[in-house]
C-alpha cells in the first residue's frame, strides 16, 4: 500500500512537470528555426530518467520457488524502481571521449528484492587522426550481428536477454581499430574491424567465467553487395585454443521485407558447437511490423536433459540443488530451439503516439513460452509511458513453466533530457 501510494504520487508529479514542457512547445512560431541553438559544443551530456512500478505474481508450483523463498509462502511482490541513465562526450580536434552509465534503486515489498546497482556501460577514447579510420580504447559494447532477439555472432560481448533484447548491457574493456577501405569491385562498401580483449584478474574477469586469463583477438570483415550486408567474423582465444567463426547477412527482398541470418561455430579442443539464427522483418501496408526469428544452439540441453535437471532440483535439499540451479541459469537460453515473434502496430484507430505490441518467446523443445503485451504512449517529444503485461506458461519441468515469476505487470514513465 505504502509503495502504491508513493508510486502514484511520483507518477502524478512526473506527468504534470513534463506536460508543461509540451504546452510551451506549442506556442512557438511555426517557421522559426534558430539553428545557432544547435551549434556543436565540445562537451555535451544527456540522459534518461525512468520510474517503474512492478507487480510480480510468483509461481508457487515451481520447483525453484522453495529455493528463492525457503521460509515463506510468498506469492506476490510489489516493486518501485528508479533508473537514471547518463551519457557524456567530449570532442576535440580528432579525438572523442565518451562515457555512459546507469544507476538504479529498487525498493520492494519483499526486503530480499531491494537492490541498488550502478555500472559503467561504456567509457572509451576514440582517435580519428586518420579519419575515416579510427582507433578506440576503453570499455565498449560491440553489438555484432543482425538479429533482434538473438545474436549468435556476438562473439565478444555479453549475451543479450531474448526476453528483453533492448535492455542495457555492460561493455567490455577492449582496444579496437576500424578501417574503412570503402567500395571496390562488387562491394559498394567495406570495412575491417580488429579487436583485442584481455581477460585478467581485474579486467573483464566476469566475462566468460570459465577463463581466468586469456588474450582474445577478433576480426570482423564487412561488405555491402547490392542490397545485402555481409559480415565475416573470426575470434581467437589464444591461451585456451578456442576458435570462433561467424557469418551474418541482412537484405531487403522488397522495400518492406527484410531477411537476416547468423551462423557461429565455436571450435574448442573438446568440442565443436554451433548457433544458428534466421529471421525476418515485415512491414504491412497498414504499418504493422512483424519480427520473426528462429534460433538453434547445438550446445543447449535436450528436453529430457532439462527435465531431469528440474526433477533433481525438486528432490534435492537446497544446498545440493544449487549446482543444478546454476546450470539452468548460466545461459540466457536453456534448450536448443527457440522461436521469437513480435507484432507491433503503429497508432491503431488513429490514437496518436500509441504503439501496442505483442511478443512471444517460445522454447520449442519443451513448448513453454513467455508472452508479453506492451503498450507505449509517447505524448510529447521526450516523455513516454509504458505498460507491460507478461505471462509465462508451460508444463511442469519446462523452462517458462518453472520460472519463479508466473506473471508481471509493469508500468513505467521515462523522460529524456
Amino acid at each position: 500500500m505504502k509503495h502504491g501510494l508513493l508510486l502514484g504520487v511520483l507518477m502524478g508529479l512526473f506527468f504534470i512537470t513534463v506536460s508543461a514542457d509540451k504546452a510551451f512547445a506549442q506556442d512557438k512560431d511555426l517557421y522559426s528555426f534558430n539553428v545557432e541553438e544547435f551549434e556543436k559544443k565540445s562537451w555535451e551530456w544527456s540522459g534518461e530518467f525512468r520510474l517503474l512500478g512492478t507487480n510480480k505474481t510468483y509461481n508457487k508450483n515451481s520447483v525453484l520457488h522453495p529455493l528463492k523463498f525457503p521460509d515463506d509462502e510468498i506469492d506476490q511482490s510489489q516493486e518501485v524502481e528508479l533508473q537514471l541513465y547518463l551519457e557524456s562526450r567530449w570532442d576535440w580536434d580528432w579525438s572523442r571521449f565518451f562515457v555512459s552509465g546507469e544507476a538504479s534503486v529498487i525498493r520492494s515489498s519483499l526486503e530480499e528484492n531491494d537492490d541498488e546497482t550502478s555500472f559503467l556501460s561504456e567509457g572509451y577514447l576514440q582517435l580519428n587522426l586518420f579519419d575515416p579510420q579510427s582507433f578506440e580504447i576503453g570499455k565498449r559494447l560491440l553489438r555484432w550481428g543482425k538479429g533482434y532477439a538473438f545474436n549468435p555472432v556476438a562473439l565478444m560481448e555479453r549475451v543479450k536477454n531474448p526476453e528483453d533484447p533492448e535492455a542495457s548491457r555492460e561493455g567490455l574493456w577492449i582496444t579496437q581499430g576500424i578501417l574503412i577501405p570503402g567500395g571496390f569491385s562488387i562491394f559498394e562498401n567495406t570495412s575491417v574491424t580488429l579487436v583485442y580483449l584481455p581477460i585478467r584478474e581485474e579486467i573483464n574477469e566476469d566475462y566468460q567465467t570459465r577463463y581466468e586469463y586469456d588474450n582474445v583477438w577478433g576480426m570482423k570483415l564487412y561488405g555491402l553487395i547490392g542490397t545485402t550486408d555481409f559480415d565475416l567474423y573470426l575470434v581467437e582465444w589464444t591461451e585456451t585454443s578456442e576458435t570462433d567463426l561467424g557469418i551474418d547477412f541482412a537484405t531487403n527482398i522488397t522495400p518492406s521485407f527484410e531477411v537476416h541470418g547468423e551462423l557461429a561455430v565455436f571450435d574448442t579442443t573438446e568440442s565443436t558447437e554451433q548457433q544458428t539464427l534466421i529471421g525476418l522483418r515485415y512491414l504491412t501496408e497498414n504499418e504493422i511490423t512483424l519480427i520473426v526469428e528462429g534460433f538453434n544452439d547445438s550446445s543447449g540441453l535436450t528436453y529430457n536433459e532439462s527435465k531431469e535437471l528440474y526433477q533433481l532440483i525438486e528432490v534435492s535439499p537446497a544446498d545440493k540443488a544449487k549446482p543444478y540451479l546454476s546450470q539452468i541459469q548460466q545461459k540466457k537460453t536453456l534448450n536448443r530451439n527457440y522461436g521469437y515473434l513480435k507484432i507491433s502496430i503503429k497508432e491503431p484507430f488513429d490514437w496518436l503516439y500509441f504503439t501496442p505490441s505483442f511478443t512471444w518467446l517460445g522454447n520449442l523443445d519443451d513448448r513453454s513460452s513467455s508472452n508479453a503485451l506492451q503498450l507505449v504512449y509517447a505524448p510529447s517529444d521526450n516523455l513516454s509511458y509504458q505498460l507491460v503485461l507478461q505471462y509465462l506458461e508451460g508444463e511442469k519441468y519446462s523452462q517458462f513453466g518453472e520460472n519463479t515469476v508466473k506473471n508481471k505487470v509493469e508500468l513505467s514513465a521515462s523522460y529524456d533530457f
Binding site: 517557421y31 544547435f38 544527456s46 553489438r143 559498394e188 555491402l224 542490397t227 522495400p255 496518436l352 521526450n382
Partner: protein, 261 residues
C-alpha cells in the same frame, strides 16, 4: 571588287555566326528535354556535395506538434546521412541511405538496422525516402514535360514534369512535378501510387539565397489524403557545399557523424 565582295561575305558570316551563337541557349532552353529539366531541378535543389541543418515538424489534427532537428550530409546522386540533434529522446540517432539501402543507427541498440523507404523514422507524413531525399534522377525517369494553365507571379505558365519510378523499390510510382520556369524549381509535387491513388502532395515554399550559388526553397511542406488533418514541414538552414570522403556514407561511420559538424 572581289575583295569588297569577300569582305561583305566575311561580314555576313560573322553576323550570322553571332546570331546563331546568340540564339543557341534560347533554343536549347525552349527544347530542353524532360531528362534535362530533371537534372536542372536536382542541381538547383541540391549542390553535388553539401551539408545542411533541417527542422522537421509534424503537426497533428489537434494542433500539437513534434519537432526534430537533423544535421544532413549528401554526396553524389544517392548518398545521404542524417544525424538527429533534437529532441533529447532521439539525439545521436543517425539514418544512412546508399541508393536503395537505408539503415537506422540507434545509440542504445548500437548497430545499424535496415529500414525501408516506406517507414518513417520521425512519424508524420514524411516517410524515410522524403527525409533521406536523394536526387530525383537517381530514382525516376523523366517521361514528359508540358505547360499547365497555372501561372507563376510573373504570368508565365507553370510546367508539369511527369516522372516514373525506375524500379518497384521506389516509394512512389509516379511524380507530377509543377515547375516554375523562372526559378527552375518545383513548386508542388504530387506523389502517386501505381494504383493511381494520390499518396501525398509536397509543396516547396520560401525561396532563399543560402549563398555560394545555392538558391532554393527553404520550406518543404506535405499533406496527404491518407492522413487527413496531418501536416509535416521541413525547414532548411545553413546549406553549404562540402567535400566529403565516400567512406562517410558507410554503416561503420554512422556513430561518428557528429564529428563532422
Amino acid at each position: 571588287m572581289i575583295s569588297i565582295i569577300n569582305k561583305n561575305i566575311r561580314k555576313s558570316v560573322k553576323v550570322i555566326t553571332f546570331f546563331i551563337i546568340s540564339i543557341i541557349p534560347l533554343t536549347l532552353m525552349a527544347q530542353q528535354t524532360p531528362q534535362e529539366w530533371l537534372e536542372t531541378i536536382d542541381r538547383n535543389l541540391n549542390p553535388p556535395q553539401y551539408e545542411s541543418y533541417r527542422k522537421l515538424i509534424n503537426i497533428e489534427p489537434d494542433g500539437s506538434k513534434k519537432e526534430f532537428v537533423l544535421f544532413t550530409l549528401k554526396q553524389g546522386k544517392d548518398n545521404v546521412v542524417a544525424l538527429f540533434l533534437s529532441p533529447a529522446s532521439e539525439k545521436g540517432r543517425a539514418t544512412l541511405r546508399v541508393g536503395e539501402n537505408m539503415w537506422l543507427y540507434i545509440p542504445n541498440v548500437g548497430r545499424p538496422l535496415r529500414i525501408t523507404s516506406l517507414q518513417s523514422v520521425t512519424g508524420g507524413v514524411f516517410n524515410n525516402s522524403d527525409i533521406l531525399r536523394v536526387d530525383y534522377q537517381a530514382e525516376y525517369d523523366a517521361l514528359s514535360i508540358k505547360e499547365t494553365e497555372e501561372k507563376n507571379p510573373s504570368g508565365k505558365k507553370l510546367l508539369q514534369l511527369d516522372l516514373k519510378a525506375k524500379t518497384g523499390a521506389v516509394a512512389y510510382d509516379k511524380l507530377e512535378m509543377a515547375i516554375d520556369p523562372d526559378l527552375q524549381s518545383p513548386l508542388k509535387i504530387r506523389a502517386i501510387a501505381s494504383s493511381g491513388m494520390l499518396i501525398k502532395t509536397i509543396y516547396f515554399k520560401n525561396i532563399k539565397d543560402f549563398g555560394e550559388g545555392i538558391k532554393r526553397p527553404s520550406v518543404v511542406e506535405t499533406d496527404s489524403p491518407l492522413y487527413k488533418g496531418y501536416q509535416s514541414i521541413i525547414i532548411f538552414a545553413k546549406i553549404k557545399p562540402r567535400t566529403l570522403a565516400p567512406e562517410v556514407f558507410t554503416t561503420d561511420y554512422m556513430n561518428r557523424i557528429e564529428s563532422l559538424r
